[in-house]
Each structure stands twice: as C-alpha cells, then as structure tokens.
C-alpha cells in the first residue's frame, strides 16, 4: 500500500491541467448566475469556442487569433442567451438547452464542411498551439530537494492560459466584492427591483454579466482545443460544462471555493485516468464509473442540503419585468 502515490506529482500536474477548463467555465457561470441569469449552456459555449479556436488556429497558424475566434464564437452564443433570457424574457434553462444543441450540431457541421475529416479539425502544430511556459529558474532549482521538483513539474511548465485562469480567481473575487460593478452585479441577482429603483439598468448589468460569461467560456474552450489537446474533435467538452455547473453549486457561487471545487473535480478526473495508482494506493480497485459519477453525486448531496445548504442567488432564473 502506497497511499502517497495518490498525490504523486504527475497526478497533481494533470489535476491542474484538467481543472483549468472547469475553473474557467465555473467562473463564467458564476458571473452569469450571480447576476440572476441561469446558464446551463456553458457546455455549448465551450464546445463552440473549442472548435473555432482550433479551426482558426489551424487556418492562420496563430494560436492567438484562434483564441480570439473562440471567444468570439462563445460571445455570439452568449448574446443569443441574453437576447432570449433578458430581452425576450424567455426561459433561461430552455435557452441553455438550445445553445448546447446548437453548438453540438453546428461544430460538426462546419468542421465537416471546412476540413472533411469527419467532424474534427486537423492536428495543430507549432504556433497553432499554446506551448508550456517555463517559469524563471525552473531548471536550475529542479534538483533542490523538496521544493525543486514541485516548482519544476507542478508550478512551472503550463500554458499561459493556466496561469490566466488561476489569476482569474482573485480577479473575480475583487470584481465581485470590491468594485461598484460587482456590488451591483450581485444585487441584480438578488433583488433586481432594488437595483432598478436606484436608477441602474438591470438589462445592462445582466448583459454585461452574460458577456463576461461568454469571454470566460471562450477561453475555456480554446484551452481545451489548443492547449490541453492539439485540435478539435466532436463533442470534446464531454460534459465539462455540466461538471463546471456542479462545481459552481459545490462552491455555493463563491470565487475561491470555485477554485477548490474545480481542483477537487479535476483531481477526480486525473486519478480516474490512472487506475493503477488507485489500486496500489488503497489496495483494491475502485470502479472508474464511480469516479466519473462522483462529481455529480457530490453535487446532488450538496444540493440536498445534507452537508451545508447551497442557496442560489434569489432572483436566479426569473426574467425581470419592470412594474408599470
């Protein structure tokens, strides 16, 4: 029995890699839901961004243009969600479902039309991908006992989007809790009528939140296709948008907790890729299916309020109608 191998550096390293798309999508959902707009279309926005970032990165050879295209695609779907749920006061959940299907269908349709490779993009090479960044002194310190390997293998050597995602956590906290915009954004998710009375535009704030959500989902999707993997394949988000949604509930709509929740879920994904490690660590096999389902089971338990109740923003899901 080798319990410590569960926290092997390679496992922790893939935890970070797998947690990043979840974290970005989770923060995206956090902005949207804190403003009172439910978003179950995170999955679709990530998927659209993944395809368009990979496609444009392949066509132009520049991963940065790819990232831009991914964000644009995700923003377009966000705008649609805003139009349906804010302007036309439609059902936000149904709009999210529609966006997920729209992305699932359109990405394959366009991919087949552009590349004729059965709904995927060609593999990205060279500048078409985000390459790992080596932090200063990583190789020099590599042999320092203790800290060296952790710094070299775990902290250094990720793509720029990983560091960006991690920075987004304090940034989100600061925006939400230390700026006027953040205060209003949270208020509009709790009591839009009060915000309206104060003379601040509910519609404007909600659109802003939905757009921020689109940008973050765009980065998450681009990360999947141009950093984590080298190109787009059909349905490559594989339910990550919903795990992010689960993480958001798990984190009870708070930024730092979103980081912890997505790291936990990223860890579950990482060890489910290494059944050998689990077996040697605890002495018996754990079913992969159990590990796959664990984020969802944990979320249901949290939602049920058995371990600390998750209370969503009060005005979430309700279209705002001005009284006349």
């Amino acid at each position: 029995m080798d319990f410590l191998s569960l926290f092997d550096l390679s496992v922790l390293d893939s935890t970070v890699r797998l947690a990043v798309p979840l974290l970005l999508a989770c923060l995206a959902g956090l902005f949207s839901e804190r403003a009172g707009i439910f978003d179950i279309g995170l999955e679709g926005k990530m998927l659209a961004a993944a395809f368009f970032s990979a496609a444009v990165a392949h066509l132009t050879g520049s991963v940065w243009l790819g990232l831009l295209a991914g964000i644009t695609a995700s923003l377009a779907l966000s705008l649609l969600h805003g139009l349906a749920s804010i302007t036309f006061r439609g059902n936000q959940l149904i709009s999210g479902v529609a966006i997920n299907f729209l992305a699932a269908g359109m990405t394959v349709l366009v991919a087949q039309d552009w590349f004729h490779q059965g709904g995927r993009t060609p593999s990205l090479i060279g500048q078409g991908r985000f390459s790992p960044i080596e932090l200063p002194l990583a190789t020099t310190l590599k042999d320092t006992p203790g800290f060296g390997p952790v710094y070299h293998d775990l902290i250094s050597g990720h793509s720029v989007l990983v560091y960006l995602a991690l920075l987004m956590v304090p940034a989100t906290w600061w925006i939400l809790y230390r700026t006027r915009f953040g205060l209003r954004l949270r208020a509009v998710g709790e009591n839009p009528a009060a915000v309206d009375t104060a003379g601040v535009s509910v519609v404007g704030l909600r659109y802003a939140a939905v757009m921020i959500c689109g940008v973050l989902c765009g980065i998450a999707g681009a990360y999947l296709a141009t950093a984590l993997q080298a190109g787009f394949v059909k349905d490559m988000t594989a339910g990550r948008g919903f795990i992010a949604l689960a993480a958001l509930i798990f984190a009870k709509w708070r930024p730092w907790h979103a980081l912890y929740a997505t790291l936990l879920f990223g860890y579950l994904q990482a060890i489910s890729l290494r059944p050998d490690i689990i077996e040697s660590a605890i002495g018996f096999t754990v079913q992969i299916q159990l590990l796959d389902a664990l984020p969802y089971i944990l979320t249901v338990v949290i939602l049920a309020g058995f371990v600390g109740k998750a209370i969503p923003p009060r005005a979430g899901g309700e279209p705002y109608v001005k009284e006349r």
Binding site: F88, L102, L109, Q112, F242
Partner: protein
C-alpha cells in the same frame, strides 16, 4: 381579456416558429453548398415515400412520443424535467431485467412485463430528484442533469461488470429470448404478395405510445389528479390554498414523467436491438424537450411533433447517406426548434399579439 384568439396561440405560433427554424436550417444547408430544396425532397423521399421509410419515421416517433409526453406532464406542473435521458436509460435496465430473467410464454405478456419494468425504473430515477425538490428545495433542473450523468455511469457499470455475458466484448446484455420478440410492422402488415416495412424497426410499441398519448390526455384534462397538477403549475400558492399538497403533486408528476420516459426503452431495447446496449437512448430524452415545446404540452400536439421529429431523424439519416450533409444537421434543427418555440417564444408572440390587438381595435 385574451390578447389573441386561442387558435393563434396553439397553431399560428408553433407554425411560425417552425418556419423560422426551417428557414435558418435552409440557410445552413445553403452555406454548406447543398440545395435546400433538393435536401428536403430527399428527406421526404427517404422518410415518407416508401413504407420502409415510414417504418423508421414511426420508430423514431415512438421514442419521441414517450419522451415528449414525459416532459409535457412535468411542464403542466411547471417542472422542467431535463432528466428524461437518464430515466430512459434506467428504463432500459428495467426492460432488460424483465426480458432476461422472466420466462415469458408470449410476447404480449412480455410486453406488459417489460413496460412495467421500464416504467418502474424510470419512475424510480425521477423519484429522487422529485423528493429532493419537494422536501429540500434542490433545483430539479440541476439534479435531473446530474442524474443523467449518474445514470450513464450506473448503466456503464452494470453492463460491463454484471450483465455482460461471459466472453462477450461489447458492453451489452445477452440477446433477449425469442419469446420476447415484439411483432414489427413488417410482421403485422405484410401480406403474402407484398412485403411492407422491409427492414424497418417500427413495432407494436408504436401503438403503446399512441395509447399513452390518450391516457395522458385523460389524466391531465379529465381527472382530479390532472386538475391538481395543472392548478399547481398555474399557481403554487393558489394550489396550496385549495388544499393541494405541493410535495405530493411534485412527486406524482415526476413519477409519471419518469415512467413515461422509461417506457421509451421498450421501443429501443425490446423492439429494436433486443438486448440492452450502451447509449440505446441516443439523445431521445432531450428531443422530448423540443417535442413537448413544439406540441404545446398537449398530447395531440406531442403526437404530431413526435412524427415531425421522426421524419427529421429518418430524413437526416438519408441526407447523411446520399449528400455531404452530416446527421448533425438534425441536432441543429432540434436546437432551432427549442430556441424558437421555447426560449424565443416571446419574440414570435409579442408582434403577433400587437397585430391581433390592432385588428380588434379596427373591428370595434
């Protein structure tokens, strides 16, 4: 005062939404470099002009009727059951257990047994989210989404580790015994000289689905329970005041919804594959959302919308076979239908209401 006549609400709005969805789909086909008219002809040709095409169209329609009804019943109680997919997966497990472990003497008894199994397992899978919503206030949309994923994991585990026959490679159960074979349309309608519905999977379950439409109509509009479900959906506070228990209605509506979703698996698992495979539902649980929205949650509307989607599915398969248009076009159309009939409903409705108000003023 009603802003517009009833017929406009139930006919005109869905039709306009459908036209908008069709128009956008045509643009998509045009952008791919194919002709929308030719594509439509091919779809009609492949899905409606031959009996085999109808056999597929009605097979898909059977699935969508069950899942569409499932979503509709929940909609009447103002509950959004997005978990039809998971409930149908578990329903498949109920069918498999009933077919594999009970020695049925005749297919008709097997059909009843398997239906009970499917409905029971589907309802069970809907029960947990329902009770969590009713008693603990957990948002049912989120819990049912989570239960879809959990169902996939459970089914994967059971198929790989428990029900897979020794030596078999693919994650599926053994073939069901011959006695459980359901009569297909070909068995039922072919005569000695003319063979109809050749190779098509439509089977007797279609009539079960039609019966389910009738039963749901009676339930919703002709029984006390249906009245309670509808009042609860209209106004929870008013329903409470009238002595209707929110817990009871939430749970019962979800149990019926889950049972209907589960019944879908009788068609796919017992009627078509005759063994339980992974992903036998193929997203039909989600198509139920589009069908329910399109059909305005009315069983007759669901019946028509299910046939429309059955046509789209079979037509889409034909397109993928003969043109460069992938099957995913159907997913796009489905998304557009959900978008226009569901989320953007007001975009269609608001101008129409204004139009009818203006017309009425002129008339007065």
């Amino acid at each position: 005062m009603e802003k517009m006549p009833h017929w406009a609400d139930v006919l005109l709005i869905p039709l306009i939404s459908l036209l908008l969805a069709a128009l956008l789909s045509a643009l998509v086909i045009l952008a791919i470099g194919e002709s929308p008219a030719a594509a439509f002809n091919l779809m009609v040709e492949g899905a409606l002009m031959r009996s085999a095409g109808w056999g597929y169209t009605l097979y898909y329609a059977t699935n969508f009727m069950f899942t569409g009804l499932a979503v509709s019943v929940a909609f009447h109680a103002r509950i959004f059951n997005i978990g039809g997919e998971g409930q149908a997966m578990l329903g498949g497990l109920g069918v498999a257990l009933a077919c594999l472990y009970v020695p049925w003497p005749h297919w008709s008894l097997a059909l009843i047994g398997a239906s009970v199994g499917a409905a029971l397992f589907g309802a069970l899978w809907a029960y947990i989210p329902a009770i969590l919503q009713a008693k603990r206030g957990s948002h049912i949309v989120i819990t049912t989404i989570m239960f879809n994923f959990i169902a996939a994991a459970v089914l994967n585990y059971i198929l790989v580790n428990i029900l897979r026959p020794v030596g078999a490679m693919d994650p599926a159960t053994a073939k069901f015994p011959d006695a459980t074979h359901l009569p297909t349309f070909r068995d039922m309608f072919s005569t000695a000289d003319t063979i109809l519905f050749r190779g098509a999977p439509a089977n007797v379950t279609f009539f079960v689905a039609v019966a389910a439409c009738v039963v749901v109509w009676v339930l919703i509009w002709r029984t006390r329970l249906g009245y309670e479900i509808r009042s609860f959906g209209e106004s929870e506070t008013a329903a409470k005041y009238a002595g209707i228990s929110p817990v009871k209605i939430t749970v019962i509506a979800m149990l019926i919804s889950g049972a209907l979703a589960g019944l879908m698996s009788v068609n796919t698992t017992m009627g078509e594959s005759e063994r339980l495979i992974l992903n036998s539902t193929e997203g039909a649980g989600f198509i139920g959302i589009a069908v329910a929205l399109m059909g305005r949650s009315h069983p007759f509307g669901v019946f028509l919308a299910a046939i429309l989607f059955g046509f789209l599915y079979q037509g889409g398969a034909e397109l993928a076979l003969w043109t460069s248009i992938p099957r995913e076009l159907i997913v796009v159309i489905q998304a557009l239908v959900i978008l226009f009939t569901g989320a953007l409903d007001n975009m269609v409705r608001m101008p129409l209401e204004k139009l009818f108000l203006a017309l009425r003023k002129e008339g007065a």
